[in-house]
Symmetry: C2
Subunit: 119 residues, 2 copies
C-alpha cells in the first residue's frame, strides 16, 4: 500500500522480455518490462493488452501497420489481434493484462516468460 515508482521497479528487472508484476487492480496485473529487439508474433484470444512506455520508445506492430510509442504514450492491443512488440534500443514499459495471461499467447517459444513473478 505504498507508492510504486515505475522506473525504479523497471530498473530492478534483471532480464529482457521478462515482465514483473508490481501491482494488481482486481484481476488485472500491472507489470514492468525491459524490452529490446523484436518479440514474437502472437495474440491473446480473451483479453486486451495495455502498453505504456516509461523510458525510451517502442513499437506495437500489427501485420498491416505499426504504432510507435514514446515516453508517456500508451496503446491498447485489442483482444484476438495478432501483434508483436519491438524496440530498436532498450525500452522500459508498463504492461497491463489479467493475471495468468502468457506473454507469448499461443505462440510459445523461448521468449515465453514465467508468470506472476513480482519485483
Amino acid at each position: 500500500m505504498d507508492a510504486i515508482n515505475l522506473l525504479e521497479k523497471a530498473g530492478l528487472v534483471d532480464a529482457l522480455w521478462s515482465p514483473r508484476v508490481v501491482g494488481e487492480l482486481n484481476d488485472v496485473q500491472v507489470k514492468v518490462a525491459r524490452i529490446h529487439g523484436d518479440f514474437v508474433w502472437h495474440d491473446h484470444e480473451d483479453t486486451d493488452e495495455l502498453f505504456l512506455v516509461i523510458q525510451g520508445s517502442m513499437r506495437v506492430e500489427y501485420r498491416d501497420r505499426a504504432v510507435t510509442l514514446n515516453e508517456g504514450e500508451m496503446h491498447i492491443v485489442p483482444k484476438g489481434i495478432e501483434h508483436r512488440t519491438a524496440a530498436d534500443e532498450e525500452c522500459w514499459c508498463v504492461i497491463m493484462e489479467p493475471r495468468g495471461v502468457v506473454n507469448t499467447g499461443e505462440a510459445g517459444g523461448e521468449l515465453t516468460a514465467a508468470n506472476d513473478v513480482w519485483v
Copy 2:
C-alpha cells in the same frame, strides 16, 4: 488504435475532478484527470482503484495514513477502503477502474462527475 499521449490528453480536460476516458482494457477504463484541493471521503465497495501521477504530485489519504505520489509513481487503493485524494497544487493523474464506477462512491455530492466521458 493509435498512440495515446497521456499528458496531451490530460491537457484537454476542461475541469478539475472530472476524469475523462482515454482507453479501455477489457472492462477497465483508463482515465486522465486534473485534480487540485481535497476530494471527498469515499470508498468503492466492489473494486480497487489505480492512480498514476503524470504531472505534479498528489496524496492518496486514508483515515490513518497518507501515500504521497510524485510523477511516475502509482498506487492502488484496495476495494472497500475509505480514502480521498488530495493535491496542494494542480496535479494530473491517470485513474483506472472498471467502467461504471462512480468517482465519489456512495458519498455523492457536488464533486460527483459524469461517467464515461471520453477525451
